[in-house]
Subunit: 168 residues, 2 copies
Amino acid sequence: MALLSIKPRPCTDPNCRGQHAPAERVALAMSLCDARGAQLTKLRRKILELLWESGRPTGAYELVEALKLRDSRPVGPPTVYRALEFLISQGLVSKIESRNAYIPCAHPERRHDCLFFICSNCGAAIELEDQRLEGLISEDAALIGFRATRRVVEVEGTCARCIAAGAA
Amino acid sequence: MALLSIKPRPCTDPNCRGQHAPAERVALAMSLCDARGAQLTKLRRKILELLWESGRPTGAYELVEALKLRDSRPVGPPTVYRALEFLISQGLVSKIESRNAYIPCAHPERRHDCLFFICSNCGAAIELEDQRLEGLISEDAALIGFRATRRVVEVEGTCARCIAAGAA
DNA sequence: AAATGCAACGTTATAATGTTGCATTTAATC
DNA sequence: GATTAAATGCAACATTATAACGTTGCATTT
């Protein structure tokens, strides 16, 4: 496929802020799924592309609308939710629980739970990775004998850009 | 009021797991609101009581149902949501974002964001406080110039009791 | 090629969660 | 008691998510 001709480059920078070109990210997703024997179908890929292009956490129904505009063939909510479920299961997308919205994951090649900073002003979300945070949570879990399977860490506030632009 | 005759005792144990009697917690809530000039009305108090009695994160519509059974007068969703909004604003209740459910806060007398461990098996949530975690998040926020206003930390998994009971 | 199996996708309806706007009641203040 | 702000009641609505059932397309077997 054409998109596979773009060389996927796993990013190894733990301080990376996820500034990668959408096309590059989609290509990486394809190569990852290929390696795993998972099917990143046309629809799933399109949804992943839309998420990358959106640049902020996007609701499932926004995706339904976006697909209507983009394609002749409209899709229903269940279809979008199923695609999201797949993308999440592959670590390609995360759900922002505090917003009921979905965001592509900058580093699907690494197995990790992300830390999200979500701007109340502009709606943008910044993804970060912090091993120490995961360690601390594991420690607290151990303290109460809890076996953790998923970590949700979401911080709401104002992003640097909006602070600079004078947004309270 | 009768409930105020129960002496509220702010708990100062940072490792406390929140094992306090519901009545004691409600009494503390009343004294806190009183001191702040906030009105913990009958309805709001009843909802707080229901949350304490429930023992696990409880949905808004479950509260609507519970109030129907408990009282002659049924209340609608907006009423419950508004009461929850008040309780949250006073730090008496937290929303568990990953469940769309609400849980009373064990230590409303301290200003802090909580860390929740939610059991996928039994639905119980354990509230913890970890200053170090808040510190790390602040540090990461500073790194990207983000001004945080709210922290959501929710860990899904299996609680000690369910592990002991043989639940996978 | 016909039959079979299976994963993904489509369609309709509905459940679950949350909000708006306005009328009414309650309760704090004068 | 009159005034006024806050809280509550209520109907309709908006948003998010899933259930239930059916279809399509492709791979494998017969």
